[in-house]
């Protein structure tokens, strides 16, 4: 009998496991795949290791700074600052028609950029910052306040409004066109006020650190172990899981990082009517990402930006595209452009755009591969408007689609950021069942880790006091 079974060995599941194991709970993480990471993982192709998910870790804080989510997670997981090996970004940009705003991990720089380009809006920007919901008060519920309404009450210029939304939406919004103000605040702080960083070795450093901590504390991890459904006692309280091979495992509690709807589906037999499931809408936002490996470092051909958020149209549309991909906006990331003490071995450019899950998932294998090739060409061509043309230097490439995301994460519609309505409380209609991760409302890598920690502290460790 386990104290807790955790479904999913992503960032949130692993950090939850670390907390429980540290406090001598008998805990087992079940992971469907043969590797850990979930939405933030890595894989090998042609002898090269590629990251999936992570472009950058947000919420950067330097060594010795004590505030903010990054330091909170270090303390909660008993990690030193060095263990995450975070290296800050060089500088990023938001590029819109006729206007570019640079930003770094120093918010003053962004303020100067805004004051240069939108001199009348600086006070509005400061007002907006003062209104952001504080991390420390952050908590149990969404504000149910439209972020657009708040932002527009501070900032009058419509283009600047869109330019602020663009990076925040791309890096964490599960909703189309607007965000809940609570989510907006979290994202604004994590990106503009704190900023980007990345370990030289990429996401695997973070996963390895969490896994080591988990194992050292006595936690158990089972890979290639999918959960078919949850075990319920006669009072419909969750009391364990049934694996894909029909093995039953008992536990006092189950913590799922599979997603809200995905977790409800594991209790389908006990749900009775469909209304609970229907009330929980799936996410609609899918993404593609291209990865291009180059024969040289990006800065040698004039590309020194860490991340470029681009949009070529008057309006910024953050919604499910009609076509396979929407080439009007996207994100260009070069993992080379962080302040490392030695350069990465090869140049890499990763590009993310919005994509339509239905179209990608309907394709048969050959058509799918053909479309992938075609859209790789279109996407890399489209971004050559925003950064120096890197296409002549490409020596290897890959691409993933919403279909890939669905296959590896189980997220319905390949929706990376999960369901549009978040479950901040982490509780479910059944006793002894909790959710953490993307659908609990924390976004990004740091957010996912904090989510795992918070839910464990609140429900699975608190009662032992």
């Amino acid at each position: 009998m386990y104290d807790t079974i955790i479904i999913g060995a992503g960032m949130s599941g692993l950090s939850a496991g670390c907390r429980l194991a540290h406090y001598d709970k008998k805990v087992c993480i079940l992971e469907k795949h043969s590797f850990i990471g979930g939405l933030n993982s890595f894989y090998k192709q042609h002898g090269r290791e590629h990251d999936v998910g992570l472009h950058a870790v947000t919420n950067y804080a330097g060594k010795g700074e004590k505030r903010g989510p990054l330091n909170r997670l270090l303390r909660q997981l008993r990690l030193t600052w060095e263990e995450l090996a975070l290296v800050p970004q060089l500088g990023s940009k938001i590029v819109f028609p006729d206007c570019t705003l640079g930003f770094t991990n120093d918010f003053k720089f962004f303020e100067e950029q805004v004051s240069k380009n939108f001199p009348k809006e600086v006070d509005g920007l400061r007002k907006l910052v003062s209104m952001l919901v504080d991390y420390n008060q952050m908590g149990e519920c969404q504000t149910d306040v439209s972020a657009r309404e708040v932002v527009c009450s501070c900032i009058k210029n419509p283009q600047l409004v869109e330019m602020l939304f663009c990076p925040l939406m791309y890096y964490g919004s599960a909703r189309q066109q607007d965000m809940d103000f609570n989510q907006f605040s979290i994202m604004f702080r994590s990106i503009f006020l704190e900023g980007f960083a990345r370990p030289w070795e990429g996401v695997r450093v973070l996963l390895r650190t969490l896994l080591e901590r988990f194992r050292k504390s006595g936690g158990e991890l089972r890979l290639k172990t999918g959960v078919k459904r949850l075990l319920m006692d006669s009072a419909k309280n969750v009391c364990g899981v049934v694996l894909d091979d029909d093995t039953e495992i008992e536990a006092k509690a189950v913590l799922s990082s599979a997603g809200q709807r995905e977790t409800l589906r594991l209790c389908q037999e006990s749900l009775g009517d469909k209304s609970v499931m229907d009330a929980c809408k799936p996410g609609e936002l899918g993404f593609v990402e291209t990865i291009s490996v180059l024969d040289r470092q990006p800065k040698t051909f004039g590309h020194g930006d860490t991340i470029v958020f681009f949009n070529d149209s008057e309006n910024f549309d953050y919604k499910k595209p009609q076509d396979y991909c929407d080439l009007r906006s996207g994100v260009i990331c070069s993992p080379n452009n962080f302040a490392y003490s030695e350069p990465l071995k090869e140049g890499v450019i990763r590009i993310t755009t919005l994509a339509n899950y239905d179209l990608w998932s309907a394709l048969r294998k050959e058509e799918y591969n053909a479309q992938k090739k075609e859209w790789y060409v279109k996407i890399t061509e489209a971004v050559s408007r925003f950064i120096p043309d890197f296409r002549p230097y490409v020596i290897d490439s890959d691409m993933f689609t919403p279909k890939t995301v669905y296959r590896f994460t189980g997220h319905e519609n390949g929706a990376i950021y999960g369901a549009p309505n978040k479950n901040y409380s982490g509780t479910m209609p059944f006793k002894n069942l909790f959710v953490c991760g993307t659908d609990q409302g924390m976004v990004g890598i740091v957010g996912a880790i904090i989510s795992g920690i918070t839910i464990v502290n609140k429900y699975l460790l608190a009662n032992s006091n």
Binding site: Y23, D24, K63, G64, K66, R67, R72, L74, R75, Q76, R78, L79, T80, W81, N136, I453, N457, L461, A462, S464, N465
Partner: protein, 83 residues
């Protein structure tokens, strides 16, 4: 445990929670919150570590006793005297 030993025990917990912190300069009568910027999650951790390591149970309404090193040691002294 003597008060001095209890102080060492609490210091050890603090260094576990905040490994990057230099605790040699810790002032006993200034609050942890002020010196180390500990938040409520961290205080809960001090409580849970005390329970895990020394089987000391601290009811929620008494968490305020853990404000600074000196108040923590005073509070724990009778509870940990027998250890």
């Amino acid at each position: 445990m003597t008060k001095q030993e209890i102080r060492e025990a609490v210091l050890d917990i603090l260094s576990d929670i905040a490994p990057d912190e230099d605790l040699s300069e810790l002032k006993d009568d200034v609050s942890f919150r002020e010196q180390m910027e500990l938040d409520s999650m961290d205080f809960l951790d001090i409580v849970m570590e005390l329970r895990r390591r020394y089987k000391v149970n601290i009811p929620e309404e008494e968490y305020t006793a853990l404000g600074s090193m000196s108040s923590t040691v005073e509070y724990l002294a009778p509870k940990m005297a027998e250890l």
